[in-house]
């Protein structure tokens, strides 16, 4: 008889115990009708999107979790096959809608590898600046909504205050707050405007103090510590066998980060640390992401200081549009412009899988081209899709409240999961 039953026996009177005995003989070891299967469904404030968890509960304890997804499946990979290479970027950016620069980066690096075009240094630095700012935005939205789930309502307003500042910067450089389509195949669409550097350094100067504020609010808050420390740990081996990457894996002690392991887009020029946890429980996952914000600020600072001069996009006319003023004078520019704009860029046939370190883990983009001007297959290996498989080993045997905290710390983005 489970400890749960024995403990109740001592308090309740005999007749109930008699019923339990008959139940146990009849229904095997555990009384099954106690189990309640509920839909922790698509429309739920704590599922960070339209994730549906089929939860089997025994009182407050979660016995089994079965994630059911597909409620925001948009057929993005099918749409991508119907568009030319440039037009795929806006569609791809809407997959993992909190890490839109990373989606674009993964896709662009895959196509650039296919075409074998070299991205100029300045463009690589600009990409790193925007990606790390996007990582901060993603962690801010995660922190705001997760603290909301744990009951710290005011965190939401603090985090979204910083988010607005960063989105102003994105708007300055690309004209749009989210899904900016700032990355182009071969570099970035436009150079950053004049006031961007000053505004960015102003933001970078005050951001660490803001993250300290978040830390002061939550790190020593008894309720948050009770809810997060020691709940739903999972060791690194199980995480690796489940294919989990990103802050979840680093919180369990394995310092695997693509920016350090396989540096791309000149990440090797910057020195930054990778926050790594020890126990791999919810508190480590929270602390790792919080520390990553400091590191991202450091990277952006170094990238801004070391921003080299030079073109912001590749000079290869087969890939990038010629500058407007050239159209009036040279005939070749006009022909290149016309060819690129009407039919789009032709990519030599081949298949490439190029991974990028997104805020949630390894985001890999597989592009297959059959030589035409439309990609034959675009697949995004989304970190949240694979990390979601780790929810049931984490949550089995925990309380419902811990399941909500774990789901918050898992940071699933349903756009990326359902594609």
């Amino acid at each position: 008889m489970s400890e749960y039953r024995r403990r109740e026996q001592s308090i309740t009177l005999a007749p109930f115990e008699q019923q339990l005995e008959d139940q146990l003989e009849a229904g095997g070891d555990e009384p099954t009708q106690e189990l309640l299967t509920l839909n922790f469904g698509p429309h739920h404030p704590a599922t960070h999107g339209v994730l549906r968890l089929l939860v089997t509960l025994q009182g407050e304890v979660v016995r089994d979790v079965k994630p059911i997804i597909g409620y925001v499946h948009t057929g993005i990979e099918k749409t991508a096959e119907d568009k030319s290479y440039w037009k795929v970027i806006p569609v791809i950016e809407r997959m993992d809608y909190l890490a839109y620069y990373f989606n674009a980066m993964a896709y662009c690096s895959a196509v650039e590898t296919l075409i074998d075009v070299e991205v100029p240094k300045r463009a690589q630095y600009l990409r790193v600046i925007h990606m790390e700012l996007n990582r901060i935005v993603s962690h801010l939205v995660w922190l705001g909504t997760s603290a909301l789930d744990l009951g710290a309502i005011s965190m939401f307003w603090y985090c979204f205050r910083e988010r607005e500042k960063i989105l102003d910067l994105f708007e300055m450089s690309s004209g749009q707050r989210m899904h900016t389509r700032y990355f182009q195949i071969g570099g970035v669409i436009e150079d950053i405007p004049r006031g961007f550097a000053e505004k960015l350094s102003g933001f970078l100067a005050e951001m660490p103090s803001r993250v300290d504020q978040y830390g002061d609010l939550l790190n020593s808050n008894e309720i948050v510590l009770q809810r997060l420390r020691g709940t739903c740990p999972l060791d690194a081996e199980t995480l690796l066998s489940l294919g989990v990457t990103g802050p979840l894996l680093r919180a369990a002690g394995n310092p695997w980060d693509l920016r350090k392991a396989a540096p791309y887009s000149s990440y090797e020029d910057f020195d930054f640390k990778i926050p790594v946890g020890t126990q791999g429980d919810n508190y480590d996952r929270y602390a790792c992401r919080l520390a990553e914000m400091y590191e991202s600020v450091k990277i952006v600072q170094q990238a801004l200081d070391g921003l080299p001069e030079g073109p912001h996009i590749t000079e290869d006319r087969k890939v990038a549009l010629p500058p407007r003023h050239e159209l009036a004078t040279s005939m070749e520019a006009l022909i290149h412009h016309f060819k690129l704009v009407t039919e789009g860029m032709r990519v030599p046939p081949g298949e490439v899988y190029s991974p990028v370190e997104s805020p949630r883990g390894e985001l890999g983009c597989f592009v297959r081209s059959d030589g035409s001007s439309k990609p034959a297959r675009v697949h995004m290996r989304d970190p949240s899709f694979v990390n979601l498989q780790a929810t049931s080993p984490m949550v089995k045997g925990a309380y419902i409240a811990d399941m909500i905290a774990t789901l918050a710390m898992l940071d699933p983005i349903l756009g990326g999961i359902d594609r």
């Binding site: 109740e8 469904g41 429309h43 309380y399």
Partner: protein
Amino acid sequence: MLRTYLPAIVFLILGGAVGGAFAVLNSVIGPRRATPHKQDPYECGLPSEVKRGLRFGISFYLIAMLFILFDIEVVFLYPIAIELRAYGSFALVETIVFIVLLFVAFAYVWRRGALEWR
């Protein structure tokens, strides 16, 4: 006698009136459109298969009873706390005895392990 209780009575009447008005207004003004799934139980947007006669675990009732026990204790402390000086030291001793008695109950419940959920 009425004079002393007038504020309480006015308070009751006003409370009842405002509450009743809202309830009645709601049914009078609110449009009524029966749709097929309106009365279904809400389970995150999905049809719910939870049967009516579901047996809850005993721990739920246990926690509820304990809460009521100690909540009433706090309710009793409020009037005393407001007028402690007027009642003099006798009320103080009385309250301490009251709290100690309930503390014994609390210790018993704690030792028997009813406070942990599992």
